[in-house]
Each structure stands twice: as C-alpha cells, then as structure tokens.
C-alpha cells in the first residue's frame, strides 16, 4: 500500500493531494480510537520522538506530545529557553546531540523560516515541522482543513476567508496551500500593511472589508495579531484594528447565512474575535484542538511507518 510521498513533513508544499487524503483517512481512524475508553495503540512502541521547541507553544506541543503518547512512542521534550542553546550551541549540534541518544524523529518549532528544511539536510532523522517562523505550520493547516471536511463533508468548492495578520502568519500560508490543493476558494482579509505584496501569486482573493469578506465565505479563519513578530507599527492601534477587523456577534448575526468560525489559537479575546463569538455554536475552535491530536497521530504514524 502506498504511503506518503515524503520522508519529512516540512510544509504543505511537499504534500500532494493523495498525501493529504491519506492523512485525512488515517486521521478518521485515529479519531475513532480517541473516542474509545482506551485511547492508546501500540504502533510506535519502538520509536523515540524528540519535541524540540525553540519558540513558545501550548497547544501544538501538548497536541504532539499526546499524539505521540497515544501511539506509544517514547517522548523527550526540549525547550530552548532552558537549554544550552543560550550558551551558544548551534542548531545542528543541538539536534545531533539529541540524535546521538538514539532518537528516530524530531518535531521542531523554530522562530526562523526554513529551519526544518535546513535540519532535514544535515541530520539523519525524520523531521516534522511544528511551525518555522512566518513560513509554514503544516499540521495546523491539515487539522483546519480536516475540521472543514468534517463539518461540510468536503473541502472542494468551499469558500474560506483568512482574516488578520497574514504577513506574519505561518498558519495562513500553510492553510492557503492546503485548501487550494483540496479545491477550496481562498480569500485573505486584513489591513493593506498586513497582506503580503505578492499574495495574489498564490491564487487567492484579497479583500480589505471584513463584512464583504464574511458575506462571501462559508468559513472564516480568524488569526491573531502577532505583535511579537512586528518590528514596526503596521496599524495605528489595536483598538482601531478591532473596530475594522474584529469579529463580533453583531457582524455575525447580520450575515444572511451561518458561517463556520475557526481560530488556530491562542485567542486574544476582544481583539480579533469577541468572547461571545469564540464560545458560540458557530465556532469550532475546540473541535479544531480535538482534531489536532488525530491529525498529528496520522502524520507521525504514516511517517514512522516508512520502511527505512
């Protein structure tokens, strides 16, 4: 039976349509496993996985760790803030030292774009990208598309708008690539300063008016303003951003259809989305988190299963 076409998961760029479908079908099975009284399967019992996080994370790290544990893999965690990286060790040295302890796979988050690709060329382990700078966050895009598929039955033909800080968002790029592969229509919406100049080359629509964008779409994916990546001011104030691009109950109720609201987290309540919307019936934010574990189990299982 054919497996994934790639040895690492560095970005959605490396996946073809069959890969994505295979991941979804495998995730369906893992989702049913996660709803059993005993949620653990022994598949990866002889695999050791290192979670290497050079950047903060709650959801992604927990989600990966749970996925690994539910597959019975051995797990080691590493956070750069409490490590020898601050003593001047290079990325390759750090990872090779970890691999010398007989680790088979590395799940890595890094503040620099391309860190995963760089690492995959220099070390002998399978790499899963858990977010590299403003580049890609493939598992997030897969779980977002998986959540849309779960709700609507299919992703093809659906209209998805991604709202917010597109310029600094790895979630946006991975989502665009993944949704386009699956045949969805994608629009980005945000202030001109936060939309990359050449976004049109990815085949997405651009809209600067939130209400118009929401009236067009079936699904709205609300992104956080990544203040930590913004070296200059991109808009006058957060309050002004919220007035123009914040999703609240009034806007949602004024639409003539019921759209699905997504958010990759962490939520800044009251900025890009109000609490009543985040907790509303239309929001699938917690379903996304649940699906995240199933998707990550599928990715790890399919990568680890490749015969060396």
């Amino acid at each position: 039976m054919a497996g994934l076409s790639t040895r690492h998961l560095l970005g959605i760029k490396d996946l073809n349509l069959e890969d994505i479908q295979l991941i979804f079908e495998t995730a369906d099975t893992f989702k049913s496993v996660l709803n059993r009284p005993i949620k653990k399967v022994p598949s990866l019992r002889d695999v050791t996985i290192a979670n290497i996080f050079f950047e903060n994370s709650t959801r992604t790290r927990l989600s990966f760790e749970l996925a690994e544990k539910r597959l019975s893999a051995d797990v080691v965690n590493f956070a750069a803030s409490s490590s020898s990286v601050s003593k001047g060790e290079t990325l390759i040295d750090t990872v090779n030292n970890i691999l010398a302890m007989k680790v088979d796979m590395v799940v890595m988050r890094h503040p620099y774009a391309g860190a995963g690709i760089f690492l995959s060329k220099h070390v002998n382990a399978q790499i899963v990208n858990a977010g590299d700078g403003a580049h890609e966050h493939p598992t997030q895009a897969l779980l977002d598309a998986f959540s849309i598929r779960e709700k609507y039955g299919d992703v093809a033909g659906k209209k998805v708008v991604i709202v917010g800080d597109i310029l600094h968002s790895r979630v946006a790029l991975s989502n665009i690539l993944c949704l386009k592969q699956l045949g969805a229509e994608v629009m980005v919406c945000g202030p001109t300063t936060l939309i990359p100049k050449y976004i049109g080359t990815l085949g997405v629509k651009v809209e600067h008016n939130l209400v118009k964008a929401l009236n067009w779409c079936d699904v709205a994916n609300m992104l956080r303003i990544q203040l930590e990546r913004q070296d200059i001011k991109y808009f006058p104030s957060l309050r002004e951003y919220t007035m123009l691009y914040g999703l609240n109950k009034r806007i949602l109720d004024s639409l003539d259809k019921e759209i699905m609201v997504m958010h990759p987290g962490p939520i800044n309540r009251g900025v890009e989305i109000t609490s009543d919307v985040a907790d509303s019936r239309q929001s699938v934010i917690l379903e996304q988190v649940e699906n995240g574990v199933a998707i990550r189990m599928a990715v790890l299982y399919l990568l680890a299963g490749q015969t060396p």
Partner: protein, 180 residues
Amino acid sequence: MLNLTLLDGQKFQITIQRLCRQLIENHNDFSESVLIGIQPRGIYLARRVAEELRKILPDSNILQGDLDITFYRDDFRRRDQLVPNQTKIDFIIEGKKVVMMDDVLWTGRTIRAAMDAMQAFGRPEKVELLALVDRRYSRHIPVAADYVGIEVDSIASQKVVVSWKETDGEDKIILLSEVK
C-alpha cells in the same frame, strides 16, 4: 499460478452451516455472546455467520462487529505502509463471550494483534476463535482455533484465498501455488 479449489458451492454452504450449529451448542441464544470479524477479510465471514444465525434463531439478537488490527500489528516498520480499515463495534464487549472470526488462520500473528486490539473495548469473559480455513503446521505463535471450517496442509509459498458471493461473486476457497 496453479489454482486448486478446496471448497465451493453446496459444500461451502454446509461448512458455514456446521460452524453455526457448533456455535449454537456453546452460545445458546447469543444473549451473552458477540461476533467480531477481523478486518479486512474476516468481516465477510462474520457477516455471513451472523446472517445464517439470524435465520436459525429468528428471535435472538445477534451482535456482530468489525475490528481493525492495523495499529496493533507486530510488523509495523518492517513492511510497507499499513493503511487502516474501519473498526465498527457499537456494543459493549465487557463481560461477554467474544467469538473472533477470520477467514484464514496461518501464522497466528493476526490473532495476537486482534486480542490486543480488543482490549480497548473492555474485558470479555471469554474469547474464542473461529477460522474458516486452518493452515495447519504453520503457526509462529501458540494460537489454536476453537471452530474450524476446513484444515489445509500447505507450504509457505502457497496462498489460501477465500472469496465471497457478496463481494467476489462466488463462495470459494482456493489454494494458489506458484509454478516454477
């Protein structure tokens, strides 16, 4: 390839009937028993047996489920990608007598994995194994079937294939041998 038909037509039907009667001897009206077919090919056997039992015992409630064992196999990473099938068990097996079914019992490894997989659904009172074909003298682990359709002596390079009316057009058990 040389094909040798081991069982088909009326004899096949009689064998299924006999297995059903043997099951009834031990499980009465099946109120405390459930049937579980092992994916991918054992589910057709379990469905057929359940169907026959319902004909013989119209008043009883025969529960039958499908169990996928992909994640529990012991050859993960030792052979090509193993894509999972669906598990569909919408009843409780805790405290029940479980009859696991597979079309061909060969090395016994599938059964070992199935016993592992089943634990995720509770602790059965008893587990039995029904195999339509028992390829004798080829076990890798100590597993034996409680109910056997036919016994076959074969060598490792041969294959035993069970085809079903519902999916393959005909009820048949074939022994495939490679011709050198």
